[in-house]
């Protein structure tokens, strides 16, 4: 299917703008492929003592160099891998505590002028139905999501004239404004195509939470091959510095990611690390979160099953644990692409955020409360548990679910947040706010069995806070009593 005249005109105008940007951008591409391969080669056969030295360094919570990270990447010994996994879990608990932040992905629009080889929503894929929500339809989606108990969403937009920056801004305003009783979204994170600094300023003005752009692959040649010429996504540089431009515009919570399965995962992990390092170098603020989705089957998209770089479950475990060691302050996001059994294992390796009760078709929450339809989705999701079922399982494993959105409402954003995260102190906010927001969930949305189990979890974590910060625990107990009496949205 060819682009319409309107789509083509819009795309061509943006292409011109991107070309001008490419000529004028002074920043140097920080992905030095020869350097990455050299490091991977040099550390190809690490001795056990070197691996253990790197793991000890990781426990200092200062992050790892590319060389140290390469040591972990090339570790094969099962015993050492077990030590890596234990280190990752320890680091995650040191920084964030044993809480898992929950969110709902909200696909707002799927039409896209790009033609990425691996994407079910690519323009030429007629097998997948695409649509753009009206503001009324979007509000209906938000009502369904919030009725389940969610307080934060990740709003996802296709790159298309129908979902340009003005549409994105209107969407954010609509999401925030849609309230029903105690049901509301308190933080809207955004996944949208790269923009100009001026466009980012507009999105910032409507209260964006975290802004995420995934490079998909850091390997230049692969990137160019999978994102055809004359599409907006073809420009590597425009995408590589998308988050730098967002920071320039004052959006200081930014998120990076790779679509694992497009290229060699070892290269991609170092690519993510170099990206984090460059953001830190220029702005003093690294990525708020890192995502590591794996390529999943999508309708009429053979690349998703044929790629020579598909990542195994065991490799994914290593990826997550290594990222936790290398960038300890960052949030690590696991998605419902993975099945429940694997998710349970992966969460133990340093994951701090995940989605639950997800629908990834546009309009999927309102129209498909009970089913998932591949003809309308970008890819296949493998965990179809409801939010309440997911929470129950999390509690059974001893985690405390969190709907916390306090940070950006208490002025703890950007460098302020990073200061706490880098010192391993952000858990002093995360755990109390997990307790408070989970209590809200138990009071307003939980099933009886989740409520019963959840109250025990809350008491357990309260005692943990009491042991470290007794005055804070006293405050949390006071807030819990006020919530029992009917107050909501209390946080520290």
């Amino acid at each position: 299917m060819a682009l319409s005249l309107a789509e083509k005109t819009w795309r061509d105008k943006r292409l011109e703008m991107i070309k001008r940007y490419e000529e004028e951008e002074k920043r140097q591409d920080f992905i030095n492929e020869a350097e990455i391969w050299r490091i991977l080669e040099e550390k190809a056969h690490p001795e056990p003592a070197e691996v253990r030295e790197v793991l000890a360094k990781a426990r200092e919570l200062k992050g790892l160099s590319p060389e140290d990270t390469a040591v972990l990447i090339n570790t094969q010994d099962p015993e050492l891998l077990q030590e890596l996994f234990e280190t990752a879990f320890w680091i995650k608990n040191q920084v964030y505590g044993n809480r898992i932040v929950l969110f709902a992905p909200l696909y707002v629009s799927s039409p896209c002028v790009n033609n990425c080889v691996y994407c079910g929503f690519r323009h030429s894929n007629e097998a997948v139905y695409k649509r753009t929500l009206t503001m009324e339809e979007l509000a209906q989606e938000v009502r369904v999501i919030t009725r389940a108990g969610h307080k934060r969403v990740l709003a996802v937009f296709g790159e298309h004239p129908a979902s340009d920056v003005d549409y994105i801004c209107r969407s954010l305003e609509t999401i925030y404004a849609t309230k029903h009783g105690r049901d509301e979204i308190r933080r809207v994170n955004v996944n949208a195509a790269p923009m100009t600094v001026e466009e980012y300023r507009q999105v910032k003005e409507v209260g964006i939470g975290t802004y995420q752009v995934f490079q998909e692959t850091y390997h230049h040649e692969t990137y160019r091959r999978l994102h055809p010429p004359d599409t907006l996504k073809h420009s590597y540089k425009w995408r590589l510095f998308a988050l730098h431009r967002a920071q320039e515009a004052g959006i200081d919570d930014v998120a990076i990611g790779v679509l694992f399965g497009l290229f060699d995962w070892r290269f991609e992990v170092l690519g993510l690390l170099y990206h984090a390092m460059d953001l830190e170098r220029e702005f003093g603020i690294g990525p708020h979160t890192i995502s590591f989705p794996r390529l999943e089957p999508a309708l009429n998209t053979p690349f998703t099953t044929n790629s020579p770089y598909l990542v195994s479950d065991e490799e994914l475990k290593k990826i997550i644990a290594i990222l936790r060691c290398a960038v300890p302050y960052t949030g690590l996001i696991l998605t419902a692409r993975e099945n429940p059994e694997l998710r349970r294992e992966l969460i133990r390796l340093g994951v701090s955020q995940t989605d639950a009760g997800s629908r990834i078709a546009v309009g999927g929450y309102s129209e498909m409360e009970k089913e998932h339809i591949l003809e309308r989705q970008q890819f296949k999701i493998n965990d179809t548990r409801s939010l309440d079922e997911f929470i129950y399982d999390l509690c059974q494993d001893g985690y405390i679910p969190s709907f916390c959105t306090a940070g950006y409402r208490a002025g703890r954003t950007g460098c302020h947040f990073m200061e706490f995260a880098k010192k391993g102190l952000v858990k002093n906010f995360c755990v109390p706010n997990a307790i408070l927001t989970f209590k809200e969930y138990l009071l307003d949305y939980a099933s009886p069995r989740t409520r019963e189990l959840g109250e025990k979890i809350i008491e357990q974590y309260l005692q943990e806070v009491e042991g470290r910060l007794p005055r804070l625990a006293e405050k949390v107990r006071e807030y819990l009593a006020r919530m029992e009496a009917g107050e909501r949205d209390l946080y520290v």
Binding site: G207, A410, G414, R471, Y491
Partner: protein, 112 residues
């Protein structure tokens, strides 16, 4: 004879207005305010929609809820340990901080 006594509010304003930009002025104000009022921490944020965007701070974190106070022009102060302030002190402190914000608004030194 002219009195050389300066109130705490005056000292905050005087120190802050020596700075060129609002963020630096607030940082300086926070430093002086924490010393004079015995606050453990004072920080500032700018409201952008529902987001309170961190600007600057001074002091040591208490991990207790901060008191949020509007300063005008979409700016907020977060006072930690505000319960320790004697009667009237909070109002005096906030008046000083608002004066600092107003100064920069009037001068248009930095977009508010």
């Amino acid at each position: 004879m002219t009195s050389t006594f300066k109130s705490r509010a005056e000292q905050i304003v005087e120190a802050a207005l020596r700075e060129k930009e609002l963020t630096e002025a607030l940082q300086r104000a926070a430093e002086v305010a924490c010393r004079l009022f015995g606050l453990p921490k004072l920080y500032f944020a700018r409201a952008i929609g529902r987001r309170l965007h961190h600007l600057t701070y001074y002091g040591e974190e208490t991990y207790l809820p901060a008191v949020k106070e509007p300063l005008g022009h979409g700016l907020y102060a977060f006072l930690e340990g505000a319960e320790r302030l004697e009667e009237g002190a909070k109002a005096e402190l906030l008046a000083a901080l608002r004066q600092v914000v107003e100064f920069y608004a009037d001068k248009g030194r930095e977009a508010l």
